[in-house]
Symmetry: D2
Subunit: 334 residues, 4 copies
Amino acid sequence: MNSFGTIFRTTIFGESHGEYVGITIDGCPAGLPLNIQDFIPDIERRKPGAKGTTPRMETDIPKIITGVFNDKTTGAPLTILFDNNNTRSADYEKQQDVPRPGHADFVASKRFGGFEDFRGGGHFSGRLTVCLVAAGVVAKKLLSLSGVHANATIVEIGGETDIEKGLQKAIDAKDTIGGIVQCTVSNLPIGLGSPFFDSVESLISHAVFAIPAVKGIEFGIGFAAAKMFGSEHNDALQNEKGITATNNAGGIIGGITNGNDLVFRIVVKPTSSTPKSQKTLNISSGQLEEFSVKGRHDLCIALRVPVVLEAVTAFVLADLLLQEQRIPKIINNY
Amino acid sequence: MNSFGTIFRTTIFGESHGEYVGITIDGCPAGLPLNIQDFIPDIERRKPGAKGTTPRMETDIPKIITGVFNDKTTGAPLTILFDNNNTRSADYEKQQDVPRPGHADFVASKRFGGFEDFRGGGHFSGRLTVCLVAAGVVAKKLLSLSGVHANATIVEIGGETDIEKGLQKAIDAKDTIGGIVQCTVSNLPIGLGSPFFDSVESLISHAVFAIPAVKGIEFGIGFAAAKMFGSEHNDALQNEKGITATNNAGGIIGGITNGNDLVFRIVVKPTSSTPKSQKTLNISSGQLEEFSVKGRHDLCIALRVPVVLEAVTAFVLADLLLQEQRIPKIINNY
Amino acid sequence: MNSFGTIFRTTIFGESHGEYVGITIDGCPAGLPLNIQDFIPDIERRKPGAKGTTPRMETDIPKIITGVFNDKTTGAPLTILFDNNNTRSADYEKQQDVPRPGHADFVASKRFGGFEDFRGGGHFSGRLTVCLVAAGVVAKKLLSLSGVHANATIVEIGGETDIEKGLQKAIDAKDTIGGIVQCTVSNLPIGLGSPFFDSVESLISHAVFAIPAVKGIEFGIGFAAAKMFGSEHNDALQNEKGITATNNAGGIIGGITNGNDLVFRIVVKPTSSTPKSQKTLNISSGQLEEFSVKGRHDLCIALRVPVVLEAVTAFVLADLLLQEQRIPKIINNY
Amino acid sequence: MNSFGTIFRTTIFGESHGEYVGITIDGCPAGLPLNIQDFIPDIERRKPGAKGTTPRMETDIPKIITGVFNDKTTGAPLTILFDNNNTRSADYEKQQDVPRPGHADFVASKRFGGFEDFRGGGHFSGRLTVCLVAAGVVAKKLLSLSGVHANATIVEIGGETDIEKGLQKAIDAKDTIGGIVQCTVSNLPIGLGSPFFDSVESLISHAVFAIPAVKGIEFGIGFAAAKMFGSEHNDALQNEKGITATNNAGGIIGGITNGNDLVFRIVVKPTSSTPKSQKTLNISSGQLEEFSVKGRHDLCIALRVPVVLEAVTAFVLADLLLQEQRIPKIINNY
């Protein structure tokens, strides 16, 4: 299913080379000011064009087709479309027999019986993350009502915390490269989430793995906890606001926000479409053959992930804030 | 919410020191042979008593109260209870004012307004994982119909792959310690899962973070992907069965199983209840004070996680197999 | 699936002749006072024993096994069991080959492949409505926080508004008989529900048809609207509280409560188990044969429906009030 | 929420006077042939223009923007838009202070805090039923794979089974009028649905009350069952295919299809927008005032309901057939 959320619920649709990609947000409170300008900054952050990102340029002006009236949300479903106006299908036409390494071509064909729109990755394309970003813009505006702020940044590329250095490795190798992105959310109230299936970790990881190319997530000190003693890992409570001396738990205990910053990191695999020549199977011939990518692609897809990561995090948290009645159903004073 | 799954749907309930903990499984196909003996091996694996685990002993004989007739599932909801017959509430009574470090006491009180059953962690207790294990037993029997097998093992304790050595560190330090557990699922068909919100990574991580103490998850090569080039990370397709030369993706591409083993690792934080003295806040006095644990607890909770991890993995996959019509709704030949 | 609700979510389980039937309520706010005595009045109302109802007597003392601590809800899942301590399985054993007319025996066998627990109707039994009543008790206590009150009464038996007269018809005919039950809910706030799929009519009818033997529902003037002109049917708004001169709409416009009493009626078919001899198919022989009921049954099942109808109505409305933030998540002053 | 369904899941969006109304269908199997021509017959049936219907004319050519490739469904979300190209907003602008009798204007304003798009009923408009019809077209194609066919017809207008006569009553009275629509579904397999919350009656009524103006539903003999004896109402089983001598149950026993035609009737209230002068409240002045409709409207909205009723029925049943694995996830031979 292509939907997520209980009260604030997003549904994405579209393919890389179709006419539009889009998103419907159901359950957004009425009265939230919203116009096209609100989307521009985050959409710009996601855009290709910077060093290490693909030269494919979309205009990416959102079309708000439903759910907004007089520049405010109406409480009815909010649907936003994005034109796919810069596609070169010819680049992709002939690759049907040769699944691109690291891509979903082969599994998509098995999953959807060969009926999938294979052009440019179709429904699997990173292109759809522009929809997630759009939902994130709406969710962030809701979060701001409670003073909550999400911020994601690249913290490592190719094993380097100096990001330029990491990118240079890939440029030198004529290859693509992976990275790590960290997200920090400040000002969350204590008490969001639940033990077990609706833990904050469960909900955030569910949404985060919806971002293509993410292969791991860790909260707080994360995997380093495996090497720690309990007395080191436990965060000592300092005051009634829940502030702890350390934040090894990343702001979540028992699945519930504890008053400290929510902190987590994700790993983004290297862009699958590398200019480097690789072996893959030719389905028709049954033979392995050399494959090299001709299309336009990102040197390091992690570079474009932070704004997407903030977005999915924002809509998970907006949903929890609504569930816990921390955001009203009608917004009269924004 | 305490439910998870679309077709095969589990709902857990109960508290550490209540009369029972239990689980209801809805959507299990009719005709699956099921009796109490089926549960014993996995329940034994979860049980405390081994080196590094708490001496609390439960009889842990499941009571199947609904959904089974003549030793087969009926297709109606399957409810299983476990007695809590070995509880010492007195150990916990007085700790209300002093939230135990690393535990959910403080956030639970904020989340549920002080109405939570605080005895032994209440609904937050690891005790409820016996219910997850029970659901896993049912799910594994369904998986076996397709030849699918999940296996989880401890791979690291306290930074040591020699597990005894890792435990000894904690014993020497009179402290508790964390660990890493790996799960491998073999024989999965190609084509389970979807891109975006129903990616296999999304669903598994959602369920996995329902296990108390888990703080991170990585699929395939995981966080190491951040240091890799695309040409290194991409798994080269070898044949039409989807087998790849490497399995850096951990068996999932584009959110979908690809015919290779599903492989992932989780980190389990050190047991919060450490015998070591720690500082924490006394809520009444507003002062920090020394705290030391008197109850019965695990030296390394990771040791008990593998069977729980297999269980949640199994019910995610059983649900996907049912959604993809790979398991029939009525089982006539088991 | 055997679950219903978005925030206030109920899951029922059990069979007529199993050890227990039960219900789990997830999402109930913490802090609601709740003890066994609260359940007695509604459970008494549902009980058999009155004129026209089956002599089968259950003790029907609820066992609250999870989710309540110190006589208040904890916010964790609330599970309630009822013993099935007065069952005579022998009455039912031999009927497997002869599906009882009007009962689910035949379809159950097709639906669940013959693995269903057929004793006394198994999971299809009206016995499970005691669980709905229990959920209703909790929901009604939540409604009372907003001053909302649901009241259902029999309005017609066998075409007679003098109910005794209707029952006498059936007694004279040595048969069973149908009836109509009306439910009125007062004090609902304006603005619950939504147009389309979450209309109040959609949600209430969904829950109402979960009650066995219900075959129709109409809101307000209902089917009589088919004979009316628009100018007759439209309810003229009288004041800003939404009060209208008539209530043909039954308190719902555009799927949303409008400030008037919510009023609807349901039809309950005659008890299928009639003492009268009937023809039905013997599956083994393939022949039609005479069938007459020997077990204990209700002359008019409609008589026992009002309290069940109030219950399902109450949990639909409690869920909507929670969704609209009209009931707090923590109840500090009951 | 504006979504419905478990596997075959529809989400509607849009307002009467926005740029588009639309629908996203998630979970449609891949490989179903689908093109614009498929939609024309049902959209034509819904269209205004016939005697008794509004003269507002929409082109109503569906735009399939996602989920179809090479004229077949891809298995990805299927989104269909309809232009709103014939709207006269000026007709509606000034009515904000005077809620139209029988319409949702007043409750919408309370529900959405005055932020709703009030033009032409906004999101409450019957305009959105064109989206339901579109989803129905897709669902019907799936049903046809199993030979299942849904057919709805007007059976009564203004109390007359001679429909022309019923309409004439309204024309003579210069008023609008209600009606009854019956739906029959043939060739359903035995065993769809479940007892309790997923009864076929629960699911169909849930979807049916999503159609604006529906105020009641009855299955089989429906409300007449209240006057019947059990021996009269019970349908006697005739053969192993489930065929019964009568069909008072309307094809559903215990919430489950029983092999006979599924038969139900709904009541559609008279069009609220009647040309007749009526009293209503002027919110600004607090005074009652005369109100008469100037816009274009239907004399009898029931006339346009049959195709919408078939549509929602079809998507409920398609969902159940998918859940019961009676429709494959990939359609190779249509």
